[in-house]
């Protein structure tokens, strides 16, 4: 009897001609998720992926990892019996025995058999009867209840094996990372940008990050924190997400010197986007991703977004655009970035906030405000001195 994990995927099944490419990507990501230390084979099998652990029990850690891979709709740890009723019954008995260990008193169950292999001599209703009767005889504590069972024994008769399982664990859904090209995430130390990155990854985007460091106005600890955040996001792609660290101090200083206080935030964002788009273009990355959400702070208005977008022709994805702060915080907690994000090292966005930022900047006025700045030189310098840092990927992941 083999231990396997059945992996179901939804959306990528619909993608027509692209389907094999998506499936291959998911197979590859699942393999990477397991890491080198867990022995298992990953194979495609009729609209499903089967992770086969051979005779060994699937480790808890492996199940957790597989569940966190984008593109996975659900998984089921299962037993795989050969195409023989007797062996399948024996497998079911083992499975139910385990299931009953943690319980006392009567337990209600039902059997849900599905025969996609029509060569197999018994039909689905017949299988339900055979398994039900067998288990009732084997375990006097069991009762059948088709309406409100404590557990369901699933029996799937497929091409090469009969799969038996009782659990269906939900995955994150989405698309496998890498199936949708790359995006450059503007990663600050705050709560929002890591969540934006996570949501982008969920749509299959492979991430790289860019961080604007303004030493001495921000400390090296705040830079470390950003690298650590990239490390947390890397857990979801199972490969380190590189961070382009930009020395933003010269730009920051120029902004302070040349730009009226009310306009500094808008001009700062424009400088960041100029530098980010240049670096993205250099690496063939077609889109930028930010953590902006409409109206969250005074500077995140539609007018302000328009003023910012003007400096680049690259699409800027804003996955949080319609989310409430509470929803963002909840997601940040769920994905494990929140505790890092709230560490109190100020980033350059918080340190240089003027008392009254312009909330509806007009593009002509923004252009005038930055007219005295040596924009091209500042961008060139920032791009030329960029530093690439890779977070350390935790060798054994515990989610």
């Amino acid at each position: 009897m083999e231990s396997v994990v059945l992996v179901r995927y939804g959306e990528i099944g619909l993608k027509g001609k692209n389907r094999p490419a998506f499936e291959n990507r998911l197979v590859q990501n699942l393999r990477r998720a397991l890491g080198p230390e867990i022995e298992a084979s990953v194979r495609r099998e009729h609209g499903r992926i089967v992770v086969d652990f051979g005779g060994r029990e699937a480790p808890r850690q492996a199940i957790d990892r597989l569940r966190s891979v984008f593109g996975v709709v659900s998984i089921s740890p299962a037993k795989a019996a050969p195409l023989s009723l007797d062996e399948a019954l024996a497998g079911a008995r083992l499975l139910v025995e385990e299931k009953l260990q943690a319980t006392k008193g009567p337990v209600r169950f039902k059997v849900e058999a599905k025969r996609s292999n029509k060569q197999f001599p018994l039909t689905s209703p017949e299988l339900n009867g055979r398994f039900g009767g067998y288990l009732l005889r084997a375990f006097p504590r069991l009762e059948v209840d088709v309406h409100a069972p404590d557990f369901v024994l699933h029996v799937e008769v497929r091409e090469k094996a009969i799969y038996l399982y009782t659990e269906i664990l939900p995955g994150p859904g989405g698309l496998p990372v890498g199936s949708s090209s790359e995006g450059l995430l503007l990663l600050s130390g705050g709560i929002d940008s890591p969540v934006a990155g996570w949501l982008a990854m969920k749509r299959g985007i492979r991430l790289r990050a860019i961080h604007f460091h303004s030493f001495p106005f921000t400390s090296d600890r705040s830079k470390e924190k950003v690298i650590d955040l990239a490390g947390v996001l890397s857990r979801y792609s199972f490969e380190p997400i590189p961070v382009y660290v930009v020395n933003f101090t010269p730009a920051q200083t120029a902004i302070r010197q040349h730009v009226p206080p009310a306009m500094t935030i808008t001009v700062m964002r424009r400088m960041m986007l100029r530098i980010a788009s240049r670096i993205a273009a250099q690496h063939g990355i077609p889109a930028l991703i930010t953590g902006e959400s409409v109206g969250q702070v005074a500077s995140q208005t539609l007018e302000s977004m328009a003023a910012i977008n003007e400096v680049t022709s690259m699409p800027i994805l804003r996955p949080l655009v319609a989310m409430d702060k509470g929803e963002i915080v909840e997601l940040a907690q769920q994905i494990g970035t929140y505790d890092l994000s709230v560490l109190p090292y100020p980033d350059c966005c918080t340190l240089f906030v003027p008392d009254r930022p312009e909330t509806r900047p007009r593009i002509e006025r923004v252009r005038a405000a930055e007219a005295d700045m040596p924009i091209d030189e500042l961008v060139d310098e920032a791009v030329a001195t960029v530093d690439v840092v890779e977070p350390v990927l935790e060798p054994s992941l515990s989610l």
């Binding site: 001495p216 921000t218 302070r256």
Partner: protein, 385 residues
């Protein structure tokens, strides 16, 4: 390579090479357990004994009154909680000040949760407690007074003798604990003369290692241990002695006797040189006391318009290491409770830095530091104002 100019000695100090040697020796040669019966045990016991005598000598007390702890924080907690819990039948009131180290305040908060009452005395603009005010806080329930000798953020020295006298005038049996961590090796510390019953010290502010400190506890004073009831440290502090740490503390005292003690006067001159140089910066103000009313190694200044943490980072780029407020509270994004108690506005506290010297600091280093700070403040003001 850029020169390293470390003026954050109130946070911690580099371990002196001789101290490192003593630690290394106790790790690999005299590695025995002092409780063991054999010679290796006796060898280690000898190291502990010598260090205990050195601490005792420095404080002018008996070695039997010195207990080793994991550092200043534990010594403070042991003294305050140990006295309070052992004497709670006599009363449940403690007196301390608003400007204590966070470890003292934490111990007091824990005791408040256990039902004790604590009075936190205010200080004047230079950070000094008024002995009369301390006396006025005494009630029939008061069992302990805990006052720091030298404040870790501003260097102000408390008039311990006067405070003790005033308080005991109201109630004779009040015990007195002094957090002496920043005073030890910086100014004369004589608990017996001052009428102090308990006094905490730490090694790593004096070129010793981290993780070791000691509590002086006058003979006859009962303490409840923080944990365990083992045999080490006469039942007050269970667990195998941190012999390498203790060896390091002993060695640090020996080095101090030779190199530190003779420079105590000179250090005041260096500090004055530093203050004068920095007060020439426009708008600069000194926080805390100046001259003999303060320890010779701590200077706290505000430079309005420049945030302390930004200045700290700008200075580190030039190889000069200082801190904002105290190292223990400076990583939290909140203003210093000490500067607040002095009456500083938030803007003034936010723009403060602490520069702290050691007996190894030279006049040349001070001159360099002054120059670096002057430049950094003026260039940051150009950007920030």
């Amino acid at each position: 390579m850029q020169r390293e100019l470390y003026l954050d000695n109130a946070a911690t100090t580099p371990v002196h090479p001789e101290v490192a040697q003593a630690i290394h020796h106790s790790l690999v040669v005299a590695y025995g357990n002092p409780s063991s019966l054999h010679r290796k045990g006796m060898e280690a016991e000898g190291i502990v004994k010598e260090a205990r005598s050195l601490v005792a000598e420095m404080l002018g007390v008996s070695p039997a009154e010195v207990y080793f702890t994991s550092g200043g924080t534990e010594a403070n907690a042991l003294a305050i909680k140990g006295v309070a819990r052992a004497r709670q039948r006599r009363g449940k009131h403690l007196i301390t000040t608003q400007i204590e180290h966070s470890s003292v305040l934490a111990a007091c908060r824990d005791l408040e949760a256990e039902g004790f009452k604590v009075t936190y005395l205010p200080v004047d603009a230079e950070g000094r407690v008024d002995p009369e005010e301390a006396a006025a806080a005494v009630t029939g329930e008061t069992i302990l007074l805990s006052v720091m000798h030298v404040n870790n953020e501003i260097g102000t020295i408390q008039p311990i003798g006067e405070i003790v006298e005033a308080v005991r005038g109201k109630k004779e049996d009040i015990l007195v604990h002094v957090d002496g961590v920043q005073a030890f090796g910086k100014i004369p510390v004589a608990p017996e003369e001052l009428g102090v019953d308990l006094l905490s010290v730490s090694a790593h502010k004096l070129h010793g290692p981290k993780g070791i400190g000691a509590l002086y506890c006058r003979k006859g004073v009962q303490l409840q241990p923080l944990f365990g009831r083992g045999t080490q440290e006469r039942g007050l502090r269970s667990g195998t002695e941190n012999v390498p740490g203790i060896a390091g503390l002993g060695a640090a005292i020996k080095v101090w006797q030779r190199e530190g003690r003779p420079r105590q006067k000179e250090l005041y001159q260096l500090k004055e040189q530093l203050i004068e140089g920095l007060l020439s910066i426009e708008g600069a103000r000194l926080n805390g006391a100046r001259g003999e009313g303060a320890a010779p190694h701590i200077v706290n200044l505000s430079f309005p318009g420049v945030r302390g943490e930004v200045l700290v980072h700008a200075l580190e780029e030039k190889g000069l290491y200082v801190s904002t407020g105290s190292a223990c509270s400076s990583r939290k994004a909140e203003v210093s409770h000490v500067l607040k108690a002095l009456g500083l506005a938030e803007r003034e506290s936010e723009s403060s830095i602490r520069i702290s010297l050691s007996y190894t600091t030279t006049a040349e280093e001070i001159a360099q530091a002054v120059e670096i700070i002057q430049e950094a403040v003026s260039s940051l003001r150009k950007i920030l104002l």
